[in-house]
Symmetry: C2
Subunit: 148 residues, 2 copies
DNA sequence: AGATTATTGATAATCGTTTTCATTTTCGCA
DNA sequence: TGCGAAAATGAAAACGATTATCAATAATCT
């Protein structure tokens, strides 16, 4: 596998204008819908392979849904974090590292770990959902490892 | 399901002295080994159910492995984050929220999101592994969404 | 063009997890 | 103590996302 697919571009553009993370299967059916009817869309296998490759090359981000399903999203070029609405699933991107870098440096210094990276998954209730859903969701639905 | 199982205690104690996250199946076979031979261990289904319940009750943390497998670990009582060694899988616990709270407050203020929680998964190379593995791991192996 | 190599698609295999359902256990209460 | 409802359990089937397989196709090189 030298790392190309004629579908790379198409998959990327299917992800292009998305504010949500998408599963491989969503992307696949989106590709199928997107064509007028002339050419055949790539197979599911190929979409999986393409997503793998793009993720490995750092072109796209992957996260895990609560149920372990892999979700993909186009990377922005600058470092960023994600803010997930626990109610509707909308994801917003948080500009960059904020004042997190010093935290990482400190952790690295104190723990002896090197090459520190971090994945910060923020979750909350977005303004829209906050209005409609008054209170008291099932705790089951909350991010499983929200610890703060 | 009113929320008890005669295995709750046993599952918790199987998790008790662990510095790694464990999969349900690991826990299950651990329970099987732990008995002399008299009584029968709980079934895999029951271990799954028990872990669900404990996670919902906040007794244990869950995270996802790279492949989406769910991993469980006993919660400490105070808020904390996890620092994962990308080479050996060792997990250390980072005391508490550090100076992260102000970051969350700011994000909440600027985004309009409410009830902000966060899961901070830090990863790096632990001191032991840092000595033995000089450099250049396969980028495939890195945490998929290490963004900082 | 011909040979070599990589990519693709269809399908089967994997594997962690969840459901189902019949059986057993637990618990309240007369 | 014994009965009956409700919950918990185990075994196995169902599920579903992902991965592996392999023959067919397309791309590449000389």
């Amino acid at each position: 596998m030298r790392g190309t697919s004629k579908y790379d571009r198409e998959v990327l553009s299917a992800l292009e204008c998305d504010e949500r993370f998408r599963s491989c299967q969503e992307i696949h059916s989106r590709l199928a819908e997107a064509r007028g009817g002339g050419s055949r869309p790539p197979s599911l296998s190929t979409v999986y392979r393409t997503l793998h490759r793009l993720a490995r090359q750092g072109e796209i981000d992957t996260i895990h849904a609560e149920d372990g399903e892999r979700l993909y999203r186009r990377c922005e070029t600058s470092p960023h974090h994600h803010l997930l609405c626990r109610v509707c699933g909308r994801v917003e991107e948080i500009p960059h590292a904020w004042e997190l870098r010093p935290v990482l440096d400190r952790v690295g210094y104190q723990s002896g770990f090197s090459e520190l990276g971090c994945s910060l998954q923020l979750s909350g209730v977005c303004p829209d959902c906050g209005r409609s859903v008054p209170t008291g969701e099932d705790p089951e639905e909350r991010g499983a490892d929200a610890v703060l």
